[in-house]
Symmetry: C2
């Protein structure tokens, strides 16, 4: 199936207020990918209160238990400004990045990579609603679904994690392996509507979606 037979160590960060789909898209893709050894990591091992306000996810390891990885993954959140200022997490992200073949994110996870100083002069993406906030950190905001610049592979908002992780499966293994993972999760998307991107959505939908996101931030 794959040219890659050694274990692939994958460290996936979890944190309070994160968005669960940002994380689980890549988690499932990496999990089906052969030879993956996934470790879920947070400040403390145990329950993680996600953005919907409930402790839906569990982290297996605390930051200090994981000191290196072949792939580092950081998910996003409707508001992760608290993580962008958290030196303990930023130090860990920098430490793992020094050991990684690939450093990856989905949605506003890239703002955490940027806050850690890893994306200076690097093309990167994030959720469409906050794309320009990459710039103050020195990254080059790039409105594409999946952006690869050197070892940094960033995905756009939330659901883009599936596309990002399949892209990485092909980079880490080969195209045949990635195609099999894609078929295993029956990834033949048929969105019921057009307009899943601000480039194609009518202005009214974009405005109302901003309201929906702001309301979600307020209630969480």
């Amino acid at each position: 199936m794959s040219t890659q037979d050694k274990p692939i160590h994958i460290a996936m960060l979890l944190y309070d207020n994160m968005t669960s789909l940002d994380f689980i898209g890549p988690f499932d893709v990496f999990g089906i990918m052969p030879n993956s050894k996934i470790r879920t990591v947070a400040k403390q091992a145990g329950p993680i209160r996600i953005d919907a306000g409930i402790p839906l996810l569990n982290a297996q390891h605390s930051l200090s238990e994981v000191t290196e990885a072949d792939i580092l993954f950081v998910p996003g959140s409707i508001d992760n400004s608290h993580i962008q200022k958290d030196d303990e997490i930023l130090d860990w992200v920098r430490r793992i990045d020094r050991t990684s073949r690939w450093t990856t994110s989905v949605c506003t996870g890239s703002l955490i990579l940027a806050a850690a100083g890893l994306l200076k002069g690097v093309r990167a993406t994030t959720h469409w609603a906050v794309l320009q906030t990459l710039e103050p950190h020195g990254a080059i905001p790039t409105q594409e679904r999946v952006v690869r610049d050197g070892k940094y592979v960033t995905g756009a908002g939330v659901s883009a994690g599936i596309d990002m992780a399949l892209t990485l499966a092909a980079l880490e293994h080969d195209e045949m392996t990635a195609k099999c993972v894609q078929l295993a999760i029956e990834y033949d998307p048929q969105p019921p509507f057009d307009g899943g991107s601000p480039a194609t959505a009518p202005k009214e939908v974009v405005e109302r979606t901003f309201e929906l996101l702001v309301a979600a931030m307020g209630s969480r």
Copy 2:
């Protein structure tokens, strides 16, 4: 935003060996949808060991704590034959279904609905690899991404949960609301490869994917 202002009570089943992406796609879509009141439910409240072998998810409620719902959701698994024979879970599924406006599933979740006797003469779908196993339960296997027959809305394999839940958001609210949720999760999928469905994948990819799924079953 929406014509629906009353709380929408959503009961989402969790069980050991389930596939996390089956669950989290709909969870995030329902979570962003206005007025949702989601309850996660399992035989016992607490950690759920998913198919990757780790206790990644937490259930808030035990079965006996949740006795009705507007929307019932059942996720799939690489092997949920143990749940298809579990009278406690099947009784709960039947009880909630008697109160629901919509009874829904993703992937092999429909085999649990079928085992509970809810899909007799009903058009339904599941993961492509096991589509025909719906038939012995009296359901009508239907190879479409999202299948609605009356109040039963079933999604195909794993990633189809996002399409299923967005379809349901439009049915429960209206198209504008569903379009906003779709844009909020930036659901503008760009699979890196063709062939996410057995209808379009080359024979070699289908055969190797079967091997990958069988290997995954053996290791979990």
